[in-house]
Symmetry: C2
Subunit: 262 residues, 2 copies
């Protein structure tokens, strides 16, 4: 859609300009995602969580287990968005370099954090030894708050507007449960979907006219191919429920008219 | 892993320095991915394809349907990597702005391309009208080559080192089939996996020692949680098959020794 109609850009659409816009970026850290060996499931989960509370996820970067790459991505996104969320690289092994990279990105020191050591001691008590490797998971940048985690014990952390989480989906999800209540939420971008039983090409021109006439809404058109048949899912988004209902109804009428005509 | 052991960084590991390193970046374009409405399947597919032919995918950026965001991401990655691949935003609707954004990123003009018009005419012949909206899919930046597509007709395109593809997975996959034979491929990064039936914490220290002693290999450690039980998948990567076999065997012996000891 035209940039002047996209959320997070105040100018060009009055109602969203009046609404509270909270934005976010995400950094996924891990060679296993970039090699294809592991298929990421965290972006979709975080996106769903943020959308549900009215935070607009604006950009995601997937980077390798490389300090320079992590520092660059985190610094770029934390300067630009209200919040940043990271996943991956906070375990006990040599390739878990996220905590040290975040400390470098913020230009602060890092060391074993007494609060984190206590959490690990309690978690491992009577089960396994809190060895040197496991202690690495207590390395937290100076000035960071811990993000608790009921699944694996080892905490994530929040420093500035950056939330550092694990890459294992069950652990990341437990951390998001802890984080969500602490976030400033925006005016939720509501949406309504209209399914068109034909390809985008037939409806694109009148749909574009509706978008142009309603710049305070965001109309997305998502083609799909089901058993060789093309269809189009049209999603209308707006922060004002009345405007959403009006424009979605207009789109539904258009689709019905075109379906009847075919 | 430490950056000096990651592919694409020549210094620090002799065998990979001698090998041909071909790198890639990917830009996923679409608000529907960032909102969580659509779960991306293209990153994993492209990652698998590139890994299979020895191209290292180094960074992925997921950006919204916003011209400035697309231009910034494409220009950042095309300057840095051998190839860039994009998905999404080349359909007929008002929110499909990828082709125009790519033209802007390269500072070239864009117009309806006679070759693309011919392809669309042939594809739609006798079925549907080649209306103004569908003609938008023939807008190709000046100087670009077309990427054919057996599924939906509408072509993608290649300009400089950037390959522009559709977002619908079946169409993107058809376009990748056309692109792959044209790419310069690198010395494939081979891998062997060793499963450890325990968490990372137990094996992290000796595993780190093996990585340190073998900087020409990349040892990744990927924890998982299966029915509440933690396990670790250890993946050894190397471009030299003999070195890979040696180091993977060393890791397997370590895992077996620790398993026997528990």
């Amino acid at each position: 859609m035209p940039s002047d109609a996209s959320p997070g850009h105040g100018s060009g659409h009055s109602s969203a300009a009046a609404a509270a816009i909270v934005t976010a970026g995400m950094v996924v850290i891990g060679d296993e995602i970039l090699s294809g060996r592991t298929k990421d499931r965290n972006v979709g989960f975080v996106a769903d969580c943020l959308t549900a509370v009215g935070i607009d996820l604006k950009e995601v970067r997937i980077v390798s287990d490389d300090e320079d790459a992590i520092v660059e991505a985190v610094n770029a996104l934390r300067a630009r968005f209200t919040y940043v969320f990271t996943s991956g690289g906070i375990g006990p092994t040599h390739d878990d370099i996220t905590a040290d990279s975040i400390a470098k990105a913020f230009g602060v020191g890092i060391d074993h954090d007494p609060r984190a050591i206590e959490i690990l001691k309690t978690h491992y008590a009577g089960r396994v030894e809190l060895n040197e490797a496991r202690l690495r998971m207590a390395r937290i940048p100076f000035g960071a708050d811990l993000i608790l985690n009921k699944v694996s014990g080892a905490p994530g952390f929040r420093i500035g507007n950056v939330h550092v989480m694990a890459g294992v989906p069950s652990v990341l999800q437990a951390m998001m449960d802890e984080i969500l209540p602490t976030l400033q939420t925006g005016t939720r971008l509501l949406s309504e979907s209209v399914d068109a039983p034909f390809g985008e090409g037939r409806i694109a021109t009148p749909l574009g006219a509706i978008q142009k006439a309603n710049p305070d809404t965001i109309i997305g058109s998502y083609p799909y191919n089901l058993d060789g048949r093309f269809g189009t899912n049209i999603v209308v988004r707006a922060r004002d429920p009345e405007r959403l209902a009006l424009v979605a109804a207009e789109v539904a009428e258009l689709v019905e008219a075109m379906r009847a005509a075919s």
